[in-house]
Amino acid sequence: MTVDNADDSSRDERAGTSSGPTLPILNQPSSRRTALKAAGAALGLAAFGKAVSPLWSIPENVSVDEFLQQHYKELTDDEKRRVFERLEAETQRQYGKDVTISDPPPIPGVRFGYAINLSKCNGNGACMEACNQENNHHRGVDQSYIRVLEMTKGSMDMEHGTTSYDHSVPQEDKFYMPVQCQQCENPPCVTACPVEATWREDDGIVVVDYNWCIGCRYCEAACPYHARRFNWEPPEIPADEVNPDQGYLSNRIRPQGTMEKCHFCLHRTREGRLPACLEACPTGARLFGDLNDPDSDINWVLQNKRVFVLKEELGTQPNFFYFFD
């Protein structure tokens, strides 16, 4: 390659006349200046390193195996077993409790449905407490997957409801409406997720792979029922309160920065037990069962009661129903 030297000199002249006010060092020959710039860049990089130093806590909390872990659906049984073992060891280390992480698959042919009798629910909130304990929720905030709305009689408009009531229940002019994940047939949260970290299982339960979720919270914006919860900080649970019976896609302790939601207690219900919130409810307002089984209680309700779903107009097709006696 040849370069025309005449051009160089003409350019040098132009450069000399164009500089404005300069530091004394700025008019140094270009090698000097390059050295100064290099020094500046090195200084900048060092300052950058210092500024982002809190990031060094990541390798402490996120092991290489966790970082490289694939999507749940891409894991072989063998890999799953190793992941579960790793998570059990981590829970032991971080929370001081021996837990078992299982992964019961959907029962073929079953589609779960839930119904709440609004004539019976009296807003006592036992379901929320049970959820909090069963699902290893962060104790710092009184979290559960359920919100109970105290609604004013004479209106189904949630605008006239409140979740923050703290008087004795039930109040004469009120009725109570628990809302949790509606396990939509057509879930907008699943459509929204950019990385398929959340999906609908064959039994209709919408689950999250807490180890794949990137924490963008798009699903939380998409859900019309405020059913999703984000782990704004690492959950704190005293060792003696940790529920050791854990499911990978359900109630294992969730990592900070990821999304979670109600999973119909799939670690219980897929093994033939009932959801914790149902067991805890003292009023018998809750009803859980297999929608595909024509003889189930829930199907009897669907056929014999006036049943409605929330925000039907949105086309989400909930598997969660409400009715009055």
Partner: protein, 427 residues
Amino acid sequence: MPSMTAQKQTSLASPDAIRSYPRFLWWGLGEATNGGLGFYVWMFVLTAISLVGANAWAHQVAEGMIVTNMTDHVSWGLYIANFTFCVGLAAGGVMMVIPAYLYDDEEMHKVVIIGEAVAIAAIVMSTLSVVVDLGRPDRFWHLIPLIGRVNWPVSMLTWDVIVLNGYLLINLHIVGYLLYMRYLGRKPNPKWYVPFVFLSIIWAISIHTVTAFLYCGLGGRPFWNTALLAPRFLASAFVSGPAFIILVMRILRLTTGYAAPPGPARTLIQIIRVAMTINLVMLASEIFTLFYTGGAHGASAQYLYFGSHGHYGLVPWIWTATAFNLVGTALFFMPAALERGSIRIAACLLCIAGIWIEKGMGLIIPGFIPSTLHEIVEYSPSLVEWKVTAGIWAFGFLLLTVLLKLIATVFTGDYEAGPIRGPSSGQ
């Protein structure tokens, strides 16, 4: 320059030209970081603010998103608000490209590269705004096609990631190619950039449309769930983008002597006049529908403009934006706006600030208030969020400064060393 052009055209064979591109970039970086005292002070301040932002973000990653003021009720905040604006800024750059290439506006052609540089910086800022919003940035790779597992084509966020990166690449190619050819003193070969320019026009519109679809596709959020959102986004982008570019051209003229002819700025002002009017008309029609119909659809608008149930957090924001937009628009319509002067500058600043609020704090936040179960939980950004956002802007300006410096250097031929001095040139 023209005499040089002819000489060098012959002296550089094309295989060399490709191989020496990295060296051109290295040279460009050197040139772009040469400057006077004011330049170094500017770069130093921007670096300092960027570092403050980087530090705040690192803390956020270590301690959790709890250091922001976002909640399960208002789950997106300042970051996504700023993201929305920056995408608009990037798309707005196309308003120089269209007159230059579709209408063969000669003068615009000379400065269109500035719009492309602004687009590059704005896209980088948008991407950073999304990254800092992630709860698990360490899992960012899950979003990368082929390596991760992307929910394409249904997730609008996946689309957004793809179109934003595509737009960035297109603009990097165009700017890089044009500068390099200019630097070599060769005439750019239209085959190598004109198709990309036309692609960039469509692409610019698509990035902002997809960003609007991100919100308006959510049936559970009545405030966003309106077909007018995408057109409104585009109209406001065609104000904020050109207004920003006018300011940039002004600063360039004052600092580097790289003076654009007066024509392009005038064209941009005409575009702003039309776009802003359309934007305001659509906004008015939106507001009419929301308030006249009332009900659940109007709940967010009620909260935004007048407060509701004793909560007034966004009221000062939106009225500030409304005032800025109206006054800014009025100024743009004054004949004086067509001349260089303070009226034009004031109009640009007011509209940029007004649109930043209108699209961010005035659109993203009220989408969450009241929540889907009609709870009202307010939001105002935390100090960490402000620091991170300031850091992103500072970094964007840093990048833009380097790009513009390079452009000005190459275009004014104001460089002290010859192109590509290396062992192979035998010197």
